[in-house]
Amino acid sequence: MNAESIGWWGVPIGILAGAIRGGTPFLLVSLGECLTEKSGKINLGLEGVLLMGAMTAYAISYKSGSPWVGVMAAGIAGAVLGSIHAFLVSRPKVNDIAAGIAMLLFGTGFAFYLGKPFIQPSAPQLPGISLGGWSHLPQIAAALKISPLFVLGVIIAFIMRWVFRSTRWGMQVRAVGDSPAAARAMGVSVSKTRFICIVAGSAMGGIGGAHLSLFYPGAWTEAISSGQGLMAVALVIFARWNPVQCLWASLLFGGAQAVGPSLQAVGINTGYYLWNASPYVLTLLVMIITCSNKRTLAGAPGALGAGS
């Protein structure tokens, strides 16, 4: 029981903690989307993947008693949905945006359908990594209790940067995304590379869902994602297809989610609808700033949206 109040310090601490807690699903989904888009395809179905991952992780954790098995199952569920999307977009004349929206609706509906019996039970949660042991304030200790999946996301972000920059495989992915014709001439299989990227990206999205249901907020409900999977797609554009920038962008979006509640907690009550909308406003701003018909975006894979 803590009787101490930290007053105004609650706002920065809340935003910082919210950035890490709330940013994790953004991070994992945006890394998955980043990988997918680097290979030249878009997967808008990641919102459905996120929900499917959240539901699967919760259900399997509840049934098996081990949250880690749940995380693995979420990854597998994401990969399965991803393979459907990958198969669809590998067919000729299939539009990846339309297929993605279909997958979004399918994943969402399927997760709701299978998830009905798991809304009520309480599943075992992932243990947090405590980095706040040095502080006597319970608020700081709680804020610095970090999700292991956040750590996983940070590691994946740096590995992905290294892979894209300095490995043969990473170069192949970039070649496939920038110029499929050139990649084909090099002897790289475009469809196989894209298949692997989409499946791996969806698996990450599924694990992002596991963070929602097994760590924060730590429950399976149908409203759990509230569009975070779609925002993560915008976030990849914001991050210029750079995995490490995806990390910073995710923290920013996660922090934006926490602004409204933490300001109200210290008694600032005006404009809370506006503050609550800040992640969405941020998404819109990103789109407005980055969209221009005069130039293509720096860093955008050349074949993205080209239908080839």
Partner: protein, 371 residues
Amino acid sequence: MKINRRIFLTAAAALTALQVTSLYAADKVTMGFIYVGPKDDYGYNQAHAEGCAGVQKLSWVKGVEEASVAETTAVQETMRNMINLDGAQVIFPTSFGYFDPHILKVAKQYPKVQFLHCGGMYTEGKHPANVGSYFGYIDEAVYVSGVVAGHATKSGKLGFIAAKPIPQVLRNINAFTLGARSANPKATVQVIFTGDWSMPVKEAEAATSLINQGVDVLTCHVDSPKVILETAERRGIYVCGYHADGSKLAPKGYLTGGEWNWSKVYTDYAEKVKAGKSLMAGTIPHLVRGGLKEGFVKCSNYGPAVDESAKKDAEAAKAKFMDGTMVIFKGPLKDNAGKEIIPSGKEYKQQDLELESMGWLVEGVLGSTKS
């Protein structure tokens, strides 16, 4: 199989027989229930689904349910399906946002079907005759929660996570605050509005922020209190439930909570419909209300952290509600900006429609109804 004359005749006869049985089954009362979210959310929808399960125990009632119906034209489709396909005579669209325009529109198309809306939006004369409204004075149970919370708090800071600043929500916030301040006159209630009925991430964020500010008892008015109950339990503070019994989610910190008892309300309606009464004939009242005394609402059993003095005060308040002498909103009462809202000597009884359009927060609430 070749369809010959004999098979055709048998099939036709069977169909006729079916028709006859369904005519005979007409003394069965078919009731449709529509929920905005899933049926087992530990919250608002679960409370109604339990009510539906309760009324279905009567052998002559057939309950038809549909969950997770959005407050859009989707609910109109659901209502029409229940009427046309299931033959529903009475429909209970339970969510606040179903009323206008959806219920009003469908009610005009089906003047023989009765529509009962949960909430305080029906106005006599303005709305169709086959529409009625029912609601419970759950603020009585919330007041009792407040009394227990006022005893339990050490910091004197209580937190209330609410969805939207509408009268029903404000009434609960005010009742909780008045209850808490009856036990601890210095207690304050910090309110956070999340903006919508089901926002799990924002609710967790709000709970965390309040706990960081030193709040040591939380309660809420959102569709599903699950995330808030679990967050409070994880951080080791006390919590009062809402809508349904949440003690399983917070075995250590759960104090008590306001719960609905819809099976009683639905059973009453079913019996009236069976007896041939209706809203249109004026034999079922358009407004049905009730509190602890009428059995519309109840309080959760006390959790392990509730001490004897708190129980004594809470039981005393409950007893006064039961014998009808308790008035929650009575003068002199100031709002949290210092303005007098109820002058000394004036009382608002629970039935006062004035309370159903409440737009103020009482002294002791930290927060504002302005968005």
